[in-house]
Amino acid sequence: MYTANRKRLQKLTDCTSKASKHFNRYEIECLIKLFYTLLEETAEKQSSIGIDRNAFRNFLHTTFGMTDDMIMDRVFRAFDKDNDGFVNVTEWISGLCIFLRGNLEERTKYCFEVYDLNGDGFISREEMFHMLKNSLLKQPSEEDPDEGIKDLVDITLKKMDHDHDGKLSFADYETSVKEEALLLEAFGPCLPDTKSHLEFEAQVFKDPHDL
């Protein structure tokens, strides 16, 4: 299988390596191989153009331990730039580039995209509520469990809304993240945690000749 596609692999690597600054050739090759492995596992047709939503979410869950469906969905959307419902090789590489090794600027843009549920360039109160819906344990004594969430949304808005327009623009978000890096994933984990990140890279970029 590999030997037949070696040339194709080389060509792909050439194409994508120009787009991604953070990986070297060898790493890109490994990632491409991983892509095809995933593809084989899930798709029956060999001519499928990419990893579909379910497969991708599966990958996120098993490799990085992500559990939040909504966030995972948004991550898929962020990877799937052309919005065709599939993540093809190029999208895969460029997405992982930011996902794994993006600098602060790249990651900020990425996270904002993830959190901006309707893609209108602002994270609104409703969107925030939606994302934080399950973040507080329900107290049995509370009559209105949403009260806490609403409060949390208010707190977040107060902290991050610098132009005071009641919603977070990218500028607001960016400024807040520059001030406090912890706010990058303020509405949910959409980047890998350090541990699983290191494990993933160690596994995928392992030299097969090494044992």
């Binding site: 953070h22 934080l132 399950n134 973040s135 507080l136 344990l137 107290q139 806490g148 409060d151 949390l152 707190i155 977040t156 107060k158 902290k159 406090e180 912890l182 706010l183 994933e185 303020a186 509405f187 949910g188 984990p189 945690d193 350090t194 890279e201």
Partner: protein, 802 residues
């Protein structure tokens, strides 16, 4: 100690500090705290009182006045006991006065200069508000409202909250227990404020409620909600005590510490950022330690995440500001881990990461590690632990860096540790002195101060003194003398100069740099920490004739003599030494005499501290030697001779040696010798004869030999059995002892009975060896003595046969 609960130092408004022991039997005065050893004398020195209130009522009129004002508004004596304990603030600073030391107290309100003095303070707020405070508190305790009793006051025993009515004096004193059971070793202890409970629930600021709400989210939220709440909490002004205590009071500290125990990196970071800020507050520090926060933070030091490492180390640096915390850090292996943080490879290439900020982060980690070690190093045992963990080479390596922020804690740590001898050897080996000298010329004043302090500590050692000179350290030190604005730095610099001046070559250099004149200028208008060192330095310089002249010429003698009237023990020791050194010049002596310096020295013989007594006595020797009409002068001090003779009853060897030396000088004048004989100098000297201390032997023998030259003193010495012990002195290894003893024996041998005693004790053989000594005085005295013995023997023979 059986039944004892705690130890207190109480300083009421109107009388002296009292040291108390609180026990199950009651309260009594103990023997006090020995400043040098920081040990409490546990012996009971007074009656046992029922409780603290009763005791204070007896001792302090003002207290009982205030108490009676409050009498009618409270039910029962026992309540008052409890209330009293919360309103008396005890500040305990046990200290040694021998060296100035610097405190790493970041909170400005707690920064204190030391020569640590016992500074008791009674914070006595108006009785009315105090009542309200306490009534509010008590009602809180009684009602056990849920929001308040959740607070983690583990320092107050559970019984206190539950049963206010049945309080006995024991429980009231337990509340202040943590205050006293911490005695500082060499460093400052936090001031423990009795808990400032809220005035009443209506007066709480809005921050309190907001913080409470945030803590609720911390408890009940997932990682996302937690991070949001943590970030929001940092928006409050965490340097305000109200916010800090609010966090504690709503149970925020437990939550924050629990977060540290999870696997979630973001939560840990957020939590540490808050803990780092609020741990500037001494009550919060103690609470953090009580809740077991330190072991968790120490564990975090192992984390691969550099941010976490830095934050954990910085928080530890803040928390480890009292003894128990420092001990806890050590007990959980924290010292070793912190030392490991110092070890960063200068050029590390990691194939995985291309971030160029890698190196900067490493520097930051090392800096935070050094900060934490600095805090921890204030404890004696930790200093040793740092050394054992290989801290010195790492600190030495970091010292070469040019990052100022890193240098300060590194030098700070070195300076703390340099007070240990074993450290000094290692410090020499690692070429640390060179870098310390280099950084004396830095622009950063704090850095200069700590470098000077480190040099002061290290220069106890001779090699270091030479190293400082060889690396060109003396000039910058001398130059820094001219800047007198920064008193802490000035104290450190003068201290370094003092210790370096013990070396003669250094003194020559200092003279070149005109340091002596500058030092004389610093004899007035300076705080005591500075004066001690300035005078110490001048005292060392005065060992040389040229410098003694310089001091006289720039008018240094008057201010020195003026300082003889102080009360600071360390200062007095140094001043007497300096004055004594100056007095070696007859011209200086004239000035000293004119300024009544000798009388002042003499009255210092009455000072309670033995060090001061001894130093004054040593100083008197050259004074008497070099004064005009010395005999007359000495006689003019009323009761002076009696005082000196009585000092022979002291138990302190140094005092005894110095007094003997003084007596030797006094006895040069016949009239005075007669007077001291009348005061009983002979039996007193004889009683001291049985000693193994060479210094004492030397001066005692000299005194005896002088005192022989009056009346029947020779015979009297024999009668008081002084002769036989003297013979044993000849077996010592010290030639000074030999010389003095030989002279004494020579004088004593004018009396026949003494000759017999000497002969019986084998003096002849010992003296024969000394006849061949290169020391001429010894030769002559030994020979003279033997000849007297021989002559007596011959005369006896003759009498037998005639």
């Amino acid at each position: 100690m059986h039944g004892e609960i705690c130890y207190l130092i109480v300083k009421p408004h109107d009388c002296d500090s009292i040291c108390l022991t609180c026990s199950t039997a009651g309260i009594f005065v103990n023997g006090g705290i020995d400043n040098e050893a920081e040990e409490i004398d546990y012996e009971r020195h007074s009656e046992i009182y029922k409780d603290l209130v009763t005791f204070l009522r007896e001792k302090s009129a003002k207290f009982s006045e205030n108490m009676s004002k409050q009498q009618h508004s409270f039910f029962g004596d026992k309540k008052k006991g409890k209330k009293k304990s919360t309103s008396v603030t005890e500040k305990e600073e046990v200290c040694t006065l021998s060296k100035p030391s610097l405190a790493l107290e970041k909170s400005p309100s707690e920064k204190r200069r030391t020569l640590k003095k016992l500074e008791p303070v009674l914070k006595w707020t108006c009785p009315v508000t105090q009542e309200k405070k306490n009534s509010a508190k008590e009602s809180q305790d009684e009602k056990s409202t849920p929001s308040i009793t959740e607070k983690p006051k583990s320092t107050s025993p559970p019984t206190l909250a539950g049963k206010p009515q049945s309080l006995s004096r024991c429980k009231s004193s337990v509340k202040i227990e943590d205050l006293v059971s911490e005695s500082s070793s060499e460093s400052e202890e936090d001031e423990e404020q009795p808990d400032h409970r809220q005035e009443g629930q209506t007066d709480l600021p809005s921050e309190y409620w907001q913080i409470q709400k945030l803590v609720k989210y911390l408890k009940g939220g997932n990682q996302t909600a937690t991070v949001i709440a943590l970030c929001s909490m940092r928006d409050f002004n965490l340097t305000l005590e109200t916010c800090q205590l609010a966090i504690r009071d709503v149970g925020g500290l437990e939550v924050l510490i629990n977060l540290l125990d999870t696997d979630e990196v973001k939560c840990k970071i957020g939590s540490l950022k808050i803990l780092k800020e609020i741990s500037h507050n001494s009550q919060i520090r103690r609470a953090i330690v009580d809740l077991g926060g330190l072991p968790i933070m120490v564990k975090i030091l192992d984390s691969p995440d550099k941010n976490l490492k830095c934050l954990a180390a910085e928080t530890i640096a803040n928390v480890a500001n009292f003894r128990r915390a420092r001990r806890t850090v050590r007990q959980h292996g924290g010292i070793k881990k912190l030392v490991e943080l110092l070890d960063y490879a200068q050029s590390k290439t990691d194939p995985m990461h291309h971030h160029c900020l890698y190196e900067t982060k490493d520097v930051e980690v090392a800096r935070c590690g050094a900060l934490a070690l600095w805090s921890c190093s204030k404890s004696h045992i930790n200093k040793e632990a740092i050394r054992k963990a290989g801290g010195i080479p790492l600190l030495a390596r970091l010292l070469k860096s040019s990052h100022q922020n890193m240098l300060i804690p590194v030098v700070g740590t070195l300076q703390e540790c340099a007070s240990e001898e074993r450290y000094r050897a290692a410090i020499k080996a690692e070429r640390i002195i060179e870098n310390l000298v280099k950084n004396l010329s830095s622009e950063n004043e704090v850095l200069q101060e700590h470098c000077a302090m480190a040099i002061y500590q290290c220069a106890e050692d001779k090699e270091t003194r030479d190293l400082v000179r060889q690396h060109g350290g003396l000039k910058p030190l001398a130059t820094l003398l001219n800047n007198t604005d920064n008193k802490e730095r000035l104290a450190a610099v003068t201290g370094a100069i003092w210790k370096c001046a013990i070396c003669k070559e250094n003194v020559t250099k200092f003279r070149e740099y005109k340091a002596i004149e500058t030092l004389v200028g610093l004899l007035t208008d300076q705080p005591e920490e500075v004066l001690v060192n300035v005078v110490g330095a001048l005292g060392e310089c005065c060992q040389e004739h040229e410098n003694r002249v310089i001091i006289r010429k720039c008018g240094g003698i008057q201010p020195l003599v003026n300082l003889l009237v102080g009360t600071n023990q360390a200062l007095l020791v140094n001043v007497t030494k300096a004055v004594g050194a100056c007095a070696a010049e007859p011209e200086n002596m004239m000035i000293i005499d004119r300024l009544d310096g000798v009388r002042l020295l003499w009255s210092l013989l009455k000072n309670p501290h033995p060090d001061v007594k001894a130093s004054a006595a040593w100083a008197l020797c050259p004074c008497i030697e070099n004064a005009k009409d010395a005999g007359e002068m000495v006689r003019s001090f009323v009761g002076g001779l009696e005082l000196v003779v009585n000092l022979l009853k002291s138990e302190n060897k140094e005092v005894l040696a110095s007094v003997c030396a003084a007596i030797t000088n006094i006895a040069k004048d016949q009239e005075n010798l007669a007077v001291i004989t009348d005061h009983g100098v002979v039996p007193l000297l004889s009683k001291l004869a049985n000693t193994n201390n060479d210094k004492l032997r030397w001066h005692l023998a000299e005194a005896i030999s002088r005192c022989c030259m009056w009346g029947r003193n020779r015979i009297a010495f024999g009668e008081h059995k002084a002769v036989a012990p003297l013979v044993r002195y000849l077996k010592s290894k010290d030639t000074n002892v030999h010389r003095a003893t030989a002279q004494a024996l020579y004088q004593l041998s004018e009396d026949a009975n003494n000759c017999i005693t000497m002969h019986e004790n084998g003096a002849v053989r010992l003296l024969l060896d000394m006849v061949g000594s290169p020391d001429e005085v010894l030769q002559e005295a030994a020979a003279g003595c033997i000849s007297n013995i021989r002559r007596l023997a011959l005369a006896t023979e003759k009498a037998k046969y005639s």
